[in-house]
Symmetry: D2
């Protein structure tokens, strides 16, 4: 019997992407689609790429509209998920693609988001040590942020194997869809095409505490993170360039071995052959992660680089992957590792 799924916030980029994936998921039947400012509109006008759903009309995001589903995906602005989730029963699998339930330390939440902390749900990055066990059977899942997904997968093997100093320097480039669909002047095509620019420099980006949380847990001690995000002239994709000083005794071989071990059996993470480097185009539209790592002897640093599709593995694909685990389905059901390139 099909899993019946609703999507709250179906007109935005995260909502559209989860629908794109659910349409290809053999066990899921798509139920209610809701929006707020766009309620009453045809989905075909809002998400013209989702042809099979073109004639569906968005309902308002209410408890009634979302009732009667096995899974509810929340693609809502920060701070709005808790109120909706409260109205859904404990047996409904609620998957929050926003930030509300990712952070464990309420102080982090308050500092970076400025409102009251809603709580902490099991964290939907299955590749992290211990994560699958916490997700199995869970009925609440917090989907990781796109940058923390890319960064954690690039760096955690180095920390899990105790190879690196607890100070990571990260510069990541993201496609513009990561900034959402609300129109703002600096996101206009005219401004974005032909331009690279940073933002949230100096520790202010909201994804920073989430990276620290993930890497610190793996390392067993607090890892400091210097994170600089940049906006790149492309719609999708994150390239995360991460580095940390190597601990004494580390060699190129020991680094390689740690990554090979970490990703030997992962269905979505591909440690590339030596000499080949990640490219966001190769994972466009797919749940795959390309990872490569090098040891720069001249400066004693491990450089780990990952490429993901920010909307797929970085948001909606990660959500579906975690849904599969929570529901006891094969983890890879309906989720491709094949990119749309060139």
């Amino acid at each position: 019997m099909a899993v019946r799924a609703a999507v709250a916030g179906a007109s935005g980029y995260a909502g559209g992407e989860v629908l794109r994936l659910l349409l290809a998921h053999p066990e899921v039947e798509i139920g209610a689609l809701t929006g707020n400012s766009n309620a009453g509109q045809r989905l075909g006008a809002l998400q013209p790429h989702l042809l099979p759903l073109a004639d569906r009309v968005l309902a308002e995001t209410t408890a009634e509209a979302l009732a009667g589903h096995d899974v509810v995906f929340l693609a809502l602005p920060h701070g709005q998920s808790a109120a909706v989730a409260e109205q859904l029963g404990p047996d409904v699998l609620v998957i929050d693609m926003g930030a509300d339930f990712r952070l464990r330390d309420p102080a982090d939440w308050v500092r970076f988001y400025g409102s009251e902390h809603a709580g902490t749900w099991p964290y939907g990055l299955p590749e992290l040590p211990g994560a699958r066990a916490r997700l199995a059977g869970s009925r609440r899942i917090a989907v990781p942020g796109c940058y923390p997904t890319a960064v954690s997968l690039a760096l955690f093997p180095a920390y899990a194997a105790q190879l690196a100093e607890p100070e990571a320097v990260i510069v990541a480039a993201s496609g513009t869809s990561g900034a959402g669909k609300a129109p703002k002047p600096h996101l206009l095509g005219s401004e974005v095409m032909g331009s690279m620019s940073p933002y949230g420099v100096g520790g202010g980006h909201r994804h920073t505490p989430e990276m620290i949380q993930n890497l610190s847990e793996v390392a067993g001690r607090r890892v400091a993170v210097s994170f600089t995000p940049t906006l790149a002239p492309m719609s999708r994709g994150i390239l995360a360039t991460c580095s940390a000083a190597a601990l004494a005794g580390v060699t190129a071989d020991s680094v390689r071995a740690a990554y090979e071990k970490a990703y030997a059996d992962e269905p979505y993470v591909r440690l590339l052959p030596e000499g080949q480097w990640p490219a966001t185009a190769a994972v466009h539209g797919s749940n795959a992660v390309q990872v490569q790592v090098a040891y720069d002897e001249s400066v004693g640093r491990i450089i780990a680089i990952s490429a993901i599709d920010n909307l797929t593995k970085g948001t909606a694909g990660g959500a579906v992957q975690s849904m599969n685990i929570a529901l006891g389905l094969d983890e890879t059901t309906g989720l491709s590792t094949i990119g749309v390139a060139p």
Copy 2:
């Protein structure tokens, strides 16, 4: 029992795209992959987006390598398909994604391609009147060119309903993947980004006789075509803007009715609701076609516009769709109408 498929020319864009689609096709098992200059290389180095095939190694394109398959896709340079096809038995389904077997009139071939005509195979554009019957059970299929696919689907309903003068004016914009993977200076990213430019102006583009062939057959008389292709700063997609003078008595309603009738039951062609216009992004990576039509009363012209993905519906998706018909499978098996957007 699975259909066993080989791809000759697996390192190029057409070859890569057909592999992307076959990987998602539930009835197909991927057999031999061949190349020429790239024989001996890992596919992962050539097509890094095709993760499940990363460790496959390209063989040379020989009769031996291609033997023992149910279907062989040819993604070869123009003029090379006949020699390969001859060596494959009559029971093997041979699908040529090149131009060699598209044209019926040998004089057209000689004029536009400058070599001896190899022959004519059933034409793989199922949406054209009568096409499906010719494809069913066939063991040789000529896949249409990308521009003729977009243009024929934009215009044929107007000609089938006898609404238009037999002189069409077409301006189409294509992504750069249509020009292939062989590196040439004018295809460099530095040259392409931020630039629109025409080529093959004045009737010289090789896809022109194919458009004339398709539209003339539907119209029942010779349709002249003025075709100007342009190169657009994007990897994929064709937007074809087509127009023709309306015959006497034509109205906006009769035009709309003709298109609604033509596409009422087509699984891949979507006549958009009035007021919505095609966009290549909406069909990125999908086999869908977006079509819209208008009647400009002030000049008495029908303007029909289509958007396709040049590599999917315009090449490899069209090939798989025709394969499904030829093999008696459901025509839509393994072929999505869902685009990867934004």
Copy 3:
């Protein structure tokens, strides 16, 4: 003594571009800069590429702010120029970069813009026959629309030489800056990159009557225009692909001769050598126009193609060129024919 120039609407794309050009103009001194919603802001925050003006602050657009200048450039939303112009004396050169004073027939204005017609000013496309005489000494200039600039320069030689039937079919691709800086969802980088799409199809685009006006005047009879604009994934540039049936007796040579004659002495229009085609990248940031023409014997059509920078020759460069003429300066003062490429 320097010409003192003010710019009303300095925060938008047209305003920014005219400032970019005026900064390089040896006879001009930049005076007041005004805006409405952005009044009070530093120009460095709004137009960060205009480094020498970074610390200038925008005033409100009032008669007082604009008083005391020799030239006032209006880069205002449609319908707002007349009220401002009225308050400026008859000796001030007022150059309207909006649409308000372009059309001669009030009925055209009412039909396409829906408001009362403000009047008609000398039309700032110097290359049209007779235009320079009308601009010399004028104190009011209507700058042409970007599409009409590209289209008129592509086609007028064919009509001036009586070579073409009075029915032109035009498909033009524009960069997104032509749509302005006001943020709208369909202009987001995420939507625009990788996508081509048409708009205003079927005769509805407001630049259509302006094209008809220009071509009809040159032809000496009414020329009908089928115009389809498309949005291309680039910031700047227009590529206009224009065609019309040739009159009897026309040959490739007579077409070429007409264009050579028309553009023999034009400082900004370059008729390319045969075999070379326009590209928008080649005129990026410059006032140059690339034109090429072909005669397609197989369909009896003249195909004329032009490339301009929509913001330079298509808006602000055309404005400065006309200013030079009006003020009796050398027409090319401060205006480059050199593009920024690649």
Copy 4:
């Protein structure tokens, strides 16, 4: 009397850019233009954006062709400049835009370039301490690499003021023109658009020793550099994100003060107001450099970011700026700080 300048390698991107700038330089007259594989071709076919030079024909790169000029710009492949320079007299100003004469330590040259070291010429980055004195009157100039220009200008104030640990971590994104005009598969538009990817990871990029040389000289001790370049989907521009651990006692104020002091009187480097960040689009086609710096207290790092146009300030603009100094002209003659945006 005009300075007569020749350009060897006029068909490539660096050669084209220096011509673009020299065309706007009031003191320069353009003399011989040479190429190798393109000798005999019209420049209009190779550099269609340089309209005033369209009918110039490339000569072969020989001593005869380059004789009789005051300045010769060399835009040649690495390793070819010395042989040409030897044939030019000591009174001719020879400006090498390649790498041959940048490095002081022959061992660095051998390690990174694999050939014999040609020597060391005065280094053309005027903003570095002491550089202008070395350039004044010089008749040999080595133009810096594009990445070292961006990185040195981002970081040197921190090292000059002794604020940072001698270990810098740099991730830079470059437009594709930095990779040159020779067609290679990974530089095709189809591959580049929509993709971010790193290269030369782990200390292997040839610009690394040049960065070390510059920063070490300023710091007065060896500065180690971890440098990761990435290829961005744009034609032009470098965004360099640089960081280093702050020394004890450093504060946000002391960092800001050091940068304000360093750039108070520089004509081309703009330290942005606090809160505004560099964007490559803002310096497109200009010789300007945007710099911003932050102190991230949470990790104790200084983060300095610069944006340049890799072809202008990063290559040809830097070359012209140094030429001006060497010839005793005003340093800013013919060189704009105004970008072409959007």
